[in-house]
Symmetry: C2
Subunit: 216 residues, 2 copies
DNA sequence: GGCAAGGGCTTTGTATACAGAAACCTCCAC
DNA sequence: GTGGAGGTTTCTGTATACAAAGCCCTTGCC
């Protein structure tokens, strides 16, 4: 693996996991020494982070980790609604019914996963990403998938803001089942609606959690 | 201006204007000598082009200019529909009515511009970008605007595929006027519908033109 | 005491030299 | 004649040295 890839992956993970919180300045020499690579590949890594929107080049002062606040959260979910709604609609038009019917069944069984502890939650997250991947695959649109990929980096970042509570995950599982069912039924309008509902609920929950944490 | 910025802008323009057609290999030394910059800033430029999706790093053989065919056109417009539809809806919710009412009037007067020759067409294109900018501004969503910006690079590239014929531009002006009117009326659903119609017609026209050129 | 200008210092931006890897061509064997 | 293996060549990937630009601190003047 290339040194620039390693540096990019390391910095990206650290930003996503809030080990490098917003506002952190990433000086080139400092980071290159820390990560054990030269400045050249590190610069390439920083450029990619900037393209992802995770950092911004504050001219002269080095690149800084971008902020992500409550306001950004709403904006992020507006974009997410546009992209995931379209992806769900396209998947409903083009996808294999059997694939999504199977995923629907898994989500309806998810209550079993979520009564357990950590490994169960991990299995649930895995199920969610399998649905995402299935939608991406069925949508069959490279540009849309790329845009979603860019978006998801930021979504993972905000997810780490608050621990998911089991009650919300259970509700989300039902919403995901509805989305999968709509796609399996080849009903694009329903798929869009189900996606909109799910994202609305997710955003509400996140914002409520955020306000709680702020109050502490 | 930085050398890497110059290299990026130069290569990007050349790709967009089809001076570097799809499949062209961009060797680092060759391009750095041609553009009069060192390999380091050139590599940064190539990385940015890759992030834009204009080039793909064919491992070992250097980066090549990505292909853009009729199939890609449909995919591109699917993404465009999702993003511009959402942007129009948000603009209808949040925008200043007066701004879009004025733009509507300009589009309704556009027949005057389009009866003239080249300078008139240039003025029309300028009007279109002013509408885009107004929508971006009114949507007030940095993530959405960024996604649109990424998309537009590819759109400019396909526009160069075929010369716009005056009849289509005239029809497009009417469609744009309808979009602006919907936003001015603060009617998000109508704005989405008008955008969908416009994009559908544009795609149909482009595909028809493409088939003609293929037949020649 | 406050403001501005200048110098030092840290920072990024660029160039070049070197190392490693992959592709292609050639030559040999079958 | 064809296939494979080895060598050569050219490419990308990385490191480091140098240049330039911006910021901060200090100092002098008002």
């Amino acid at each position: 693996m290339r040194a620039s890839d390693r540096a990019y992956a390391a910095l990206r993970d650290e930003i996503i996991e809030w080990k490098l919180p917003p506002g952190t300045v990433l000086a080139e020499v400092e980071q290159s020494e820390r990560l054990g690579v030269s400045r050249t590949p590190l610069r390439e890594a920083l450029a990619r982070l900037g393209a992802d929107g995770l950092t911004a080049a504050h001219a002269g002062r080095g690149v800084v980790v971008t902020d992500i606040s409550l306001d950004h959260l709403a904006e992020l979910f507006e974009l997410r609604e546009a992209l995931e709604g379209k992806a769900a609609a396209l998947a409903a038009e083009r996808g294999e019914s059997a694939v999504f019917a199977a995923l629907r069944a898994e989500f309806e069984d998810a209550s079993r996963l979520l009564t357990d502890t950590d490994p169960g939650r991990h299995a649930y997250y895995d199920l969610v990403s399998r649905l995402d991947a299935a939608v991406d695959d069925a949508a069959a649109n490279a540009y849309l998938v790329q845009a979603l990929k860019n978006l998801r980096v930021h979504l993972v970042r905000v997810r780490r803001l608050s621990l998911d509570d089991p009650a919300r995950l259970l509700a989300a599982a039902t919403e995901h089942a509805t989305i999968a069912a709509a796609i399996a039924e080849r009903n694009p309008a329903l798929a869009v609606a189900a996606t909109t509902v799910h994202l609305h609920q997710s955003l509400r929950h996140l914002q409520a959690t955020q306000r709680e944490e702020k109050a502490l």
